[in-house]
């Protein structure tokens, strides 16, 4: 069985609102899947549900089967053993994701010690393309740029050779030039570990370049999924159609014409 992750009818409610509504999908070993949606579509909540880090007020139902066990029903202790170990997660804001009062090296070492790995911090930092890992390890986060910090977070997420890497908008807060570097790094790391990747973004360009399969979320629901090429070539759901159309609208648009928006493709619900 190469199915790594099976999500069945996942629903997440916060208060009276359904952030995630009846989502079902699966991930194979080593697969690279992109999850697209705008803010508020429920994609971040889905990722948090996969590693059991939903906010306390959230209620999740359904099944999230990883390594054959349902993450939603696992005791917290077992979930802690999964996190950072079998599943690594990278978040959006590199500027605030690291502890400002702790040296970077210690923060990387922490995940290694926690799961009993013997790999060295400097090795890991070299792996994410730092040319002087000793200096970096000795630094504090505020002495490093956003791109550098995100690379460190990538190192932390992949330190224990996870089977699944979740990346929630990893490049959104970065400059365009750095984005490319971090994305390429992520691709390489995931390939080296033969890990599955769930790349979440609102940016089609980011996802299209990396992923083999696409999932599209809209207002908490999974509205379309399929191989990337198919979804991009012939989108079926109006939202996906709108997304694609607006992404390429500028190319060849006649002067003075009105550019399309996504809502043009959707009926007002």
């Amino acid at each position: 069985m190469t199915t790594l992750l099976e999500v069945e009818s996942l629903t997440v409610e916060i208060g009276r609102v359904r952030a995630v509504s009846d989502v079902t999908f699966a991930l194979e070993r080593g697969e690279r899947v992109g999850l697209i949606g705008e803010s508020g579509s429920g994609k971040s909540m889905t990722a948090l549900a996969l590693i059991g880090l939903l906010p306390d007020e959230a209620r999740a139902t359904g099944r999230v089967s990883f390594d054959g066990r349902d993450v939603l029903r696992l005791p917290e202790r077992d979930r802690c053993r999964l996190r950072g170990n079998r599943i690594g997660m990278i978040f959006q804001e590199p500027m605030t994701a690291l502890n400002p009062t702790m040296r970077v090296g210690r923060q990387v070492a922490e995940v290694l010690e926690l799961h009993g790995r013997s790999a060295g911090v400097h090795e890991l930092l070299a792996r994410v393309e730092f040319r002087d890992p000793e200096r970096i390890a000795h630094s504090y986060p505020h002495q490093l740029s956003g791109g550098q910090r995100q690379r460190i977070l990538c190192a932390i997420a992949t330190a224990c050779s996870p089977a699944l890497v979740l990346a929630d908008e990893p490049t959104t807060a970065l400059d365009v030039t750095v984005q490319a570097q971090v994305l390429a790094l992520l691709r390489r790391l995931v390939a080296e570990e033969d890990a599955a990747l769930l790349l979440i973004s609102h940016d089609l360009a980011v996802v299209a370049g990396v992923c083999d399969r696409l999932l599209v979320m809209f207002q908490g629901e999974l509205v379309e999924q399929g191989p990337a090429r198919e979804v991009l070539a012939s989108p079926r759901h109006p939202y996906t159609q709108g997304l694609l159309a607006t992404a390429t609208a500028l190319d060849g648009a006649p002067r003075g014409s009105v550019l399309p928006t996504i809502s043009d493709f959707l009926e007002v619900a």
Binding site: I51, C80, T96, I156, A157
Partner: protein, 313 residues
Amino acid sequence: MTPRYFLRRLVTLVATLFAATLVVFSLLSVLPGSPAQVILGTQATPASVKALTQQLGLDHPLWRQYVHWLHGLLTLRLGHSYISQLPIGSQIGRSLAVTGPLIGFGLLVGIVIAVPFGVAAALFRRNAAGAAITSLSQVGIAVPNFIVGLLLILVFAVRLGWLDASGFTPWSQSVWAAFKSLVLPAIALGLVEGALLSRYVRSAVLDVLRSDYLRTARAKGLSRRQALVRHGFRNGAIPVVTVLGLEIPSLIIGAVVIENVFTLPGVGTLLLQAVSNRDLLVVQDVVMLVAVVVLVVNFLVDASYRLLDPRLR
């Protein structure tokens, strides 16, 4: 924090101290009437008043008196009070032996109250317990500390008779008795401070709980508690320590009031007595003492804050 920055702050500190001496001196030297007259009483002859004035050096030009006083301050040779004839230095020394420990214990009580309550208020913020603690702290900062002191006296001294309501046994006589006479005052001082500090602790813990780095820590596999302790402690401590330092002037002021409630022979009592006796030299010296302590403490807090937070170095 570069040595150059530190030096600049130090220079500022010294300049401010000098300015403070000028302020205090000028305010207290514009008084009508002469101290010599006050000492000798209304029956004194003008001649004897003039003689005493000369003897005390009070007929010198003001700037000369200022320099003389400043010199005394810097060399710690504070002379004698006009009114009581007692040496000012030893008076202040003895009163510090009361006020110093009082403030120390008060601060301790404050921290012991603030940390658990503040952390609890943050962790239980969504339910009734958290709301109760927050409301309690609101009440705590509204009640004047002298009321708290009187309440403690009523319960523990008057009704239960466990401790004395007033008075102080010198440390040299009996350490235990001296300590006992400071228990209620320290609690009175510390309770109100604790209520105030708990709000800052709560806010600091909340900031940690909502932080991104805590989320990263959990994503590494740390349990909630592990993440909070390993990553939250230092980050949360920084703002709290800063506030603590800044609250020291309030503690000093609070001590003055508390000493009055419990009739302790501390700095506050010395100061107030000097005021009512018009013993201006003592007033000048004690006021400067307090101002110096406040300024120096602020300076130290600023320095330590910058040492604690690596972002500011």
